[in-house]
């Protein structure tokens, strides 16, 4: 039952980490110079009104009690209210989350597919032209500022060549597919709507490629290094001496052992995609959580900023939890730290 006890320990760590992040964010939000009471009350409030609001919002209570209120609010789905949209943040996030999820999943898919494929190719054609080229490109990938890549992408593929749309999830005039999951590609497939499927894919290409650039580079590097290392292992000699074909050795055994660390990389990748979504969604006018966050930053709208950070941390921690468990499950020999 080793897996079971690992899952248990990991879950406890998960809960603890969530608590910790909420404490940190609570601390940060108390550093904010703007007085939330005055912001809620408006400029013309009298001292008595200010005091009344202070009591009502609970700011007269000691800090740890305020924290309890904060946590219980979060758990009840109250993430504050946005002064930009005048809606509860939770509502705003619910509307925007599917867009970000769709883009993230697409990006991860692209990253893994191309990263692994190019990494394998790079390792197999070691030190020949193809390998050098790929290594050069992947070095460029991790060195490139994502916003610059995104802007260049827009410039070349939209403004100059017109191959890709300028932004948004669908072309103007195209209605979204019937809402089942909120992921347009999935919903189009489920409702058999080919036109919308193609249109939404067309819109996904640009932002997804811009978003996966860094990730692909990391995966290529990791796959290449991992496979080269793996090929020096003794069991490869054993299989060769037993007459097994090189192809089988590489694609069945070496690959499996090299892929496992890439799985942990996926978790980290998701984190940087979430962080990068602020920029990518802004540049490509993608109506997701990221562009919402960018707007909030520009307007110094703090409730959304804090809540987005909290939600994204939660999603990231959850992803890492799943990734860690899958990793241990796939790796029969790992030692649980």
């Amino acid at each position: 039952m080793k897996l079971g006890s690992y899952v248990f320990k990991r879950l406890i760590q998960f809960v603890f980490v969530l608590l910790g992040t909420s404490i940190i964010l609570f601390t940060v939000s108390n550093v904010i110079p703007a007085d939330p009471v005055r912001a809620a009350a408006g400029p013309k409030a009298t001292p008595e009104q200010l005091e009344a609001i202070r009591v009502r919002l609970g700011f007269d209570k000691p800090l740890h009690e305020q924290y309890i209120i904060y946590i219980s609010n979060v758990l009840h789905g109250d993430l504050g209210r946005s002064v930009m949209t005048f809606r509860p943040v939770a509502v705003d996030l619910a509307i925007r989350l599917p867009a970000t999820l769709e883009l993230s999943l697409f990006s991860i898919g692209l990253t893994v597919f191309f990263g692994v494929a190019l990494g394998i190719y790079s390792a197999r054609s070691r030190n020949r032209i193809g390998d050098h080229l790929i290594r050069l490109v992947s070095l460029g990938g991790i060195s490139m500022p994502s916003f610059w890549l995104a802007l260049l992408f827009q410039m070349v593929f939209f403004l100059w060549l017109g191959w890709l749309p300028g932004g948004g999830r669908l072309s103007p005039g195209v209605t979204p597919p019937t809402q089942i999951t909120g992921l347009y590609v999935l919903d189009s497939v489920l409702t058999g709507n080919v036109a919308t499927l193609l249109d939404s894919l067309h819109h996904l290409v640009g932002p997804a490629i811009a978003q996966s650039a860094v990730g692909v580079a990391s995966v290529i590097r990791m796959m290449r290094a991992g496979m080269l290392e793996e090929m020096t292992k003794d069991y490869v000699t054993m299989f060769r001496s037993a007459g097994v074909s090189e192809r089988l050795i590489v694609y069945k055994y070496v690959l499996k052992n090299s892929l496992v660390p890439v799985i942990t990389l996926i978790g980290v990748m998701f984190g940087s995609i979430l962080g990068g979504s602020f920029i990518i969604e802004q540049v490509f006018q993608w109506p997701g959580v990221g562009s919402y966050g960018t707007q909030a930053l520009l307007n110094l709208d703090f409730q959304p900023i804090m809540s987005i950070t909290l939600v994204m941390s939660f999603m990231y921690s959850l992803t890492n939890l799943v990734v860690d468990i899958v990793y241990v499950y796939l790796n029969p020999k790992v030692s649980y730290e």
Binding site: F16, V31, S143, F302
Partner: protein
């Protein structure tokens, strides 16, 4: 020769050998040249710039690249080349300062955690876990937003986000060095904890630190520029590279140069540091040293 003298010549030879290895690798040589070039630009900015980076000239707006304005002018008629040159100081120093902060804080905390062990270690590890649970720059964005706009906010925010990585690294090194015999020897001969940490453990961490720093310089520069792009960091009229890219985004159609050159500057800087870092890592990898 006394012991310390032989040690010194030995270390000097090590240094020369390392330098030789660094330059024999074409990839890291390119990186080294790039980095040297960047430092030159940083230092000689006043000489290299052709115009005043913040001087507005509404009659010369949106001029394409030319002999007069190497990179063209922006929407306020400012010379982009000069802005990029002056921007090197800002964008690069934010990256460095962040790393220094993170290294110092992280090293202190990591040393304590690794050396003391026990519950001190556990507590510190849980804290770093929490910090590392935030997806890349999100915590930095939240903190910087809370502290108000400006470069100092960015530097504080990035420092807060980055120190856990170094704490973990130093802790790991400390743990492995702590078990060595000579530490026990030092302890027995009466050396105090602080002395042991500084004199014996810290020097052994230097190599790993250098490797990690060389990997992170590029990232910190990118992170700082990203925050500048989002409007959190430097404010107008500062020639910070990320901010410049953001201002030029609106004019991408016809005035492509406004965003392209600052972005290119970021890209080339980060690549240089990454190439140099790769080279340094190869040198410090003991397996590859003597073949």
């Amino acid at each position: 020769m006394t012991m310390s003298q032989t040690e010194e010549t030995g270390r000097f030879r090590e240094l020369r050998y390392s330098f030789h290895l660094l330059l024999s690798n074409p990839v890291s040589t390119v990186g080294a040249v790039g980095v040297a070039f960047l430092f030159t630009v940083m230092i000689l900015a006043p000489i290299l710039a052709t115009h005043d980076p913040i001087a507005i000239n509404l009659t010369g707006r949106f001029l394409p690249p030319s002999g007069e304005h190497f990179f063209g002018t922006d929407h306020l008629g400012r010379d982009i080349y000069s802005r990029v040159v002056w921007g090197a100081r800002i964008s690069l120093s934010v990256g460095f300062i962040t790393l220094i902060e993170a290294t110092v804080i992280g090293t202190i905390i990591g040393l304590i955690a690794g050396y003391k062990g026990g519950w001190v270690d556990s507590v510190i590890m849980r804290i770093t876990d929490v910090f590392l649970a935030f997806p890349s720059i999100i915590l930095a964005l939240a903190v910087a937003a809370a502290l108000g706009r400006g470069l100092t906010s960015v530097m504080v925010a990035l420092g807060i986000t980055w120190w856990p990585l170094y704490a973990r690294l130093i802790r790991g090194q400390t743990l492995s060095v702590r078990e060595e015999q000579y530490i026990e020897g030092a302890r027995l001969s009466g050396a105090g904890g602080l002395r042991i940490m500084l004199k014996h453990i810290l020097p052994n961490c230097i190599a790993a630190l250098i490797v990690q720093i060389s990997m992170d310089v590029g990232f910190t520069i990118l992170a700082a520029a990203s925050m500048g792009f989002l409007g959190i960091g430097a404010q107008n009229p500062s020639p910070e590279w990320g901010l410049q890219c953001a201002s030029g985004a609106k004019y991408l159609v016809y005035q492509w140069w406004i965003s392209t050159f600052p972005g290119l500057a970021i890209f080339l800087s980060v690549i240089s540091f990454n190439l140099l870092g790769d080279g340094l890592r190869d040198i410090l990898d003991p397996r590859l040293r003597r073949g």
